[in-house]
């Protein structure tokens, strides 16, 4: 998924080369439709952005345990769902789009997690067996994103390539009430997208979907179903 970074970020990092600034001013102005700046204004804005610290300058380790307001995220997520709902034709399409949004979060989160692991432990390990990768997602990813490890991890009895991660009370969907005519929708499709991106990044391509499996004790219990592709199981057998 190509994602063009705004060029203003590069100009903060390298404030030495003047021609870099002038070349980056062009694409910045067309991207954000600002009036074409003269060389004077780019120089002054360059100085201002160099002295003013942005969120990108914060050290990545310091923000490890910082938290985001759940209410703020709930409003953002609610708006994301409403935005997507206006542009889709059905429930599967809505889940797929939420999954895509989650995928983008997951790729970035995998990078961040690996980077942070390197500074924490002396010998950071890269998972090459898929069960270990699932365990890592079950504890580390869930703890990092939601603040607590997932509740259970299960293997499907019917198929060898299906595994399930279970969350009894997913925090992102806590305030969402699905209308009765859309009862098969699970907004945890966002979480499924995050898991899919992490597995893809680690080298275990899979199809990940979210299903709501309410019980009496936990009415909002959700299962993230992971269906690995054939080559993952073949590779696993070869490694045994």
């Amino acid at each position: 998924m190509a994602y063009t970074q705004p060029h203003s970020r590069f100009s903060v990092v390298s404030n030495s080369s003047a021609d870099h600034v002038s070349t980056s001013s062009g694409p910045t102005s067309t991207r954000f439709s600002l009036p074409t700046p003269s060389i004077n204004t780019t120089a002054t804005s360059q100085q201002k952005s160099a002295t003013r610290t942005t969120i990108y300058d914060r050290p990545l380790n310091k923000t490890r345990t910082s938290e985001v307001s759940a209410s703020a995220f709930a409003f953002l997520f609610s708006e994301m769902i409403q935005y997507t709902q206006k542009r889709v034709s059905g429930i599967e399409d809505l889940e797929r789009r939420l999954s895509t949004l989650g995928y983008r979060i997951g790729t970035r989160y995998l990078e961040l997690m690996t980077w942070r692991n390197e500074s924490v432990s002396k010998t950071p390990k890269r998972e090459i067996r898929f069960l270990a990768a699932l365990m890592m997602i079950h504890t580390q990813l869930w703890r990092a994103v939601f603040g607590k490890p997932a509740d259970a991890i299960e293997k499907s009895v019917e198929n060898d390539d299906e595994y399930m991660l279970i969350d009894n009370d997913p925090s992102i969907t806590r305030h969402i009430s699905i209308p009765r005519d859309m009862s098969s929708l699970s907004c945890s499709a966002l979480t499924a997208g995050i898991v899919e991106a992490v597995l893809d990044g680690l080298g275990f391509p899979a199809r990940v979907t979210a299903h709501s499996v309410p019980t009496d004790a936990y009415p909002s219990r959700t299962t993230i179903l992971v269906k690995f592709q054939k080559e993952v199981l073949e590779r696993e057998d070869a490694l045994k």
Binding site: F77, H175, C187
Partner: protein, 137 residues
């Protein structure tokens, strides 16, 4: 010491949520509830102009012989009306908690259009735990 009913009225005066708890109020049709809610909205607006001491919000408590009505006006114009028995002293705190439940289960729900009738299981469940089960429309 009983809570008889809860009404939620949007800023235009339309009833968006109505629920009865203990028996004690006459049973009305949903159309009658709508009419009463609109009337209450108008009365609330008029009483805010009647204050002899300058600016005031509308009526806060309306007491009758067998029940009293506590009205909580939010900053956005939504009214939460709690119908309780005369001896009930907890109406204000209950209304605050109902407002919290509203902010959580209704406002953060992407399937809820603002100012439209509330059809949310989450809100119903939270009101049930707060007050007790009842019959809602």
């Amino acid at each position: 010491m009983a809570i008889f009913g809860l009404w939620v009225i949007n800023k235009a005066g339309g009833l968006v949520y109505q629920r009865s708890f203990a028996d004690g109020l006459a049973h009305l049709t949903s159309n009658e509830y709508l009419v009463l809610a609109g009337t209450l909205h108008g009365i609330h607006a008029i009483t805010s102009r009647l204050s002899p001491t300058g600016t005031s919000s509308g009526a806060h408590v309306i007491e009758a012989e067998t029940f009293k009505m506590t009205i909580f006006l939010t900053a956005t114009g939504t009214k939460f009306v709690l119908l309780t028995s005369l001896s009930d002293q907890t109406a204000d705190s209950v209304l605050q908690k109902i407002y919290e439940a509203y902010a959580d289960a209704v406002m953060k729900n992407p399937f809820q259009t603002p100012e439209m009738p509330i059809r949310s299981e989450g809100f119903d469940a939270r009101i049930s735990t707060l007050i007790g089960s009842g019959v809602s429309t």
